[in-house]
Subunit: 275 residues, 2 copies
């Protein structure tokens, strides 16, 4: 039986920082780095970002959409990045937001969470519009292989509330958080759970208003919104201080915008801010 | 300006049938066909399924998860399938259920809906948990390039209701259907819209109870549940008769289970049932 993802992530946070280095090869960032927007550019961008993360960040988070733009060649570059992260002992969160049902969901689980997949990652983000229960094949595989998931729950983008807050006191988001808590409690163990949540860095108020308990089952919390998107380390500690041990803070553009020569300093500063 | 996806799909349905041939290379089906579960097996499975669809089905629907299992090699097989479908004049629905926000969503749009992507498809399925508004970059690109989308809305899997029905009379699903209708109405034109919905073949009763109007804006309706999952052509015409012109009926396992030598006959029969 492998060590659980929650245990591995908790140790990485304690030893390094709460920072998760997002690897988001947007066309504009590649151009700013003087790199071509092709598989070779993705590869070179990813290598620099990954090396900056070693010993400073708890994990990396490649944005799969930006690799997918280049089809199979983009996925080959992503496979190489994930393999190199494994060699360097850096945990990975494949930001893929996959979601389906039944044997199709098992296919996504197999792609990202099985021991023999070329895309295997330590964890993957998933989308629960078909119900958290529908994601069970990926939950089961993650638990078995010592990997993890982050389920989209409560985000801060302006369009998100229309779906996530539907139902008010019995909202879609609340149901999802409860289902993820139940999965972690059923798995037992202490420390962080293997099943995490994606919750915006600034949604603390929404969570309270919607009666959502982010501590139940100790899900790791991936909290976009830091850095380029406006939230500071202080904001995060204020809104999420009561669950701070669970928090993994992605930053991407605010790091990469410093260019290939400035990214190590930027990662070092962010890791200090999120120590 | 390209002909719209709704116009192209409406003609394909009228000329051929309401059938959409799902191409789902599950491990078990590949084994049943005597094919290896690798990129070569995916390629051979897809070729037979695609050729059976020509002149009989309105579209094909490859299940991306089952290609993704094999990483970049799987995506290369999918690229070849999509290219061959374009050559043969068969419309494609990439069943990817992608969903994100902002420039990341633009990345997914670029992957599946731009003229120069190796994965370009006539349409792609998307997931709205971050809000239909968050999918705007893909909506915009689809409209510009004469392509389409199918937004997950109301599904029949047992776990789906927990999220989709949250809110009752003002449910998450209802809000999504309204947002998609508004997008089609804003685009103008007659006939089918470019923005479709995924609604289970058997959800007619739920739609009525939740006050959901599937006709508004004439979204194409991708309706899983036919064949192996239990719904008959008669069921579909009864529950969705009032929007029958909008309906595109996927079938996959019930066709492929007949083996490579039986699939043409099975597609012919299903196309007759869904004429």
């Amino acid at each position: 039986m492998s060590e659980s993802f929650g245990s591995r992530l908790g140790r990485a946070i304690a030893e390094r920082s709460h920072l998760c280095v997002g690897i988001d090869p947007h066309p504009g960032l590649l151009a700013g780095w003087g790199l071509p927007d092709d598989a070779d550019g993705l590869r070179r961008f990813g290598t620099v970002m990954l090396e900056a993360a070693v010993d400073r960040a708890a994990a990396i988070k490649p944005q799969v959409a930006l690799y997918e733009r280049h089809g199979s060649a983009g996925f080959a570059a992503l496979e190489e990045l994930l393999a190199r992260a494994r060699e360097l002992g850096v945990l990975s969160v494949a930001d893929a937001k996959r979601g389906d049902i039944g044997s199709t969901m098992a296919g996504y689980g197999s792609a990202w969470l099985s021991d023999d997949s070329p895309l295997r990652s330590d964890s993957v983000t998933v989308s629960p519009y078909l119900g958290v229960g529908a994601l069970a094949p990926a939950f089961d595989l993650a638990r078995e292989t010592g990997r993890g998931l982050f389920v989209l729950a409560l985000t801060s983008n302006p369009d998100g509330a229309r779906v996530q807050h539907a139902g008010g006191a019995d909202s879609a988001a609340k149901r999802i958080v409860e289902d993820v808590a139940a999965a972690n409690l059923a798995a037992g163990g202490s420390g962080l759970g293997y099943a995490g949540l994606v919750v915006g860095a600034t949604v603390g108020g929404d969570a309270q208003r919607l009666g959502i308990d982010l501590a139940a089952g100790a899900p790791p919390l991936l909290t976009p919104g830091y850095g380029a998107q406006g939230a500071t380390g202080e904001d995060l500690r204020r809104d999420l201080g009561h669950v701070w041990d669970q928090v993994l803070v992605p930053a991407s553009r605010s790091l990469a915008a410093n260019g290939p020569d400035g990214v190590v300093a930027a990662v070092t500063a962010a890791a200090g801010d999120l120590g």
